[in-house]
C-alpha cells in the first residue's frame, strides 16, 4: 500500500502542475484564411524557499539550518518586486520570441494571437514558459 502511494506521489510530482499567470488575446482578422502556429520558450525556475525547506528537512544540524535561512534571506533581499512564477537566472529567455514568430510566419501577416504566460511546477524547480499561438496568412 505504501509503495503504491509513493509511486502515485512520484508520478504526480513528475507530471508537473501547470499554473496560468496571464493570457491575452489579440485582434482577429477573419477575412483571410490563416494556418495555426505556436512558438514556445521556457527557462528553468528555482523555488528557493522549497529548496531551503528540503535542505532543512534533510539536515539535522542546527548550524546548517541557520546558514540556509541566512542565505535564503540574503537572496530574497535582491529579489523584490512583482513577478510571475519562480526566479530564473536568464532574464533574456523570452527576448527572441519575436524572431521566432517571424520564422514561423515569414509573411508577417499574423492574426488571432494568444499570448500565454504559464509555469510547469515540479519539486523545487519549474518551467517558466511563454507560449504564443496565432494564425499565419502565408500567402501575404
Amino acid at each position: 500500500m505504501r509503495s503504491i502511494l509513493a509511486g502515485l506521489g512520484l508520478i504526480l510530482s513528475l507530471q508537473g502542475c501547470a499554473f496560468l499567470h496571464h493570457v491575452q488575446l489579440g485582434d482577429i482578422d477573419n477575412t483571410a484564411k490563416g494556418t495555426p502556429f505556436e512558438v514556445k520558450v521556457s527557462e528553468t525556475g528555482i523555488d528557493l524557499q522549497e529548496a531551503k525547506n528540503i535542505g532543512k528537512a534533510l539536515s539535522r544540524n542546527a548550524k546548517n539550518n541557520k546558514a540556509m535561512d541566512d542565505i535564503a534571506g540574503a537572496i530574497a533581499l535582491f529579489q523584490m518586486g512583482p513577478r510571475t512564477g519562480n526566479l530564473v537566472y536568464n532574464p533574456d529567455y523570452a527576448r527572441n520570441i519575436g524572431q521566432m514568430i517571424l520564422a514561423e510566419c515569414p509573411s508577417g501577416r499574423i492574426t488571432g494571437i494568444t499570448a500565454i504566460r504559464e509555469s510547469a511546477k515540479y519539486p523545487v524547480i519549474s518551467g517558466e514558459i511563454v507560449r504564443i499561438r496565432g494564425f499565419c496568412d502565408r500567402k501575404g
Binding site: A18, F19, L25, D27, N30, T114
Partner: protein
C-alpha cells in the same frame, strides 16, 4: 437554527469567491454593434492541473462567431473562482469583443 446555519455556510462555500488574475484589452473599434463572446474554464481539485490547453481555442471560438469579419476590442479576463479553501477551484477565461465587417 443549526440547519439554517449549516445551509447558509454550505451555500456560501459553494457559491465561490472570484478573484481577477489578469485582464487585457485591445484597440476598441468605432463600430460596436455586434458583440461576440467566448469562454473557457477548468475545474481544479487541489492544484492538480497538468496543462492550460483549455485557453487554446478561445481565439478560434471568437473567429467562428464573426465569419468574414474582424474581431476587435477584445477584453480578455482571467478569473479564479475559489469554492472552498482552495481545495476546489476553477479558472475561467472570458474573451469579449466586437465583430466588425471586413
Amino acid at each position: 437554527m443549526f440547519k439554517t446555519l449549516v445551509a447558509g455556510v454550505l451555500m456560501m462555500a459553494m457559491s465561490g469567491c472570484v478573484s481577477l488574475q489578469s485582464l487585457s484589452v485591445t484597440q476598441i473599434p468605432k463600430e460596436r454593434k455586434k458583440i461576440v463572446k467566448a469562454e473557457s474554464s477548468r475545474f481544479i481539485v487541489f492544484a492538480f492541473n497538468f496543462d492550460n490547453d483549455y485557453v487554446n481555442n478561445l481565439s478560434r471560438d471568437l473567429a467562428e462567431q464573426c465569419p468574414g469579419g474582424a474581431v476587435k476590442g477584445i477584453v480578455t479576463k482571467d478569473e479564479a473562482v475559489n469554492y472552498f479553501l482552495w481545495i476546489f477551484h476553477s479558472r475561467r477565461v472570458t474573451a469579449t469583443g466586437y465583430c466588425v465587417n471586413g
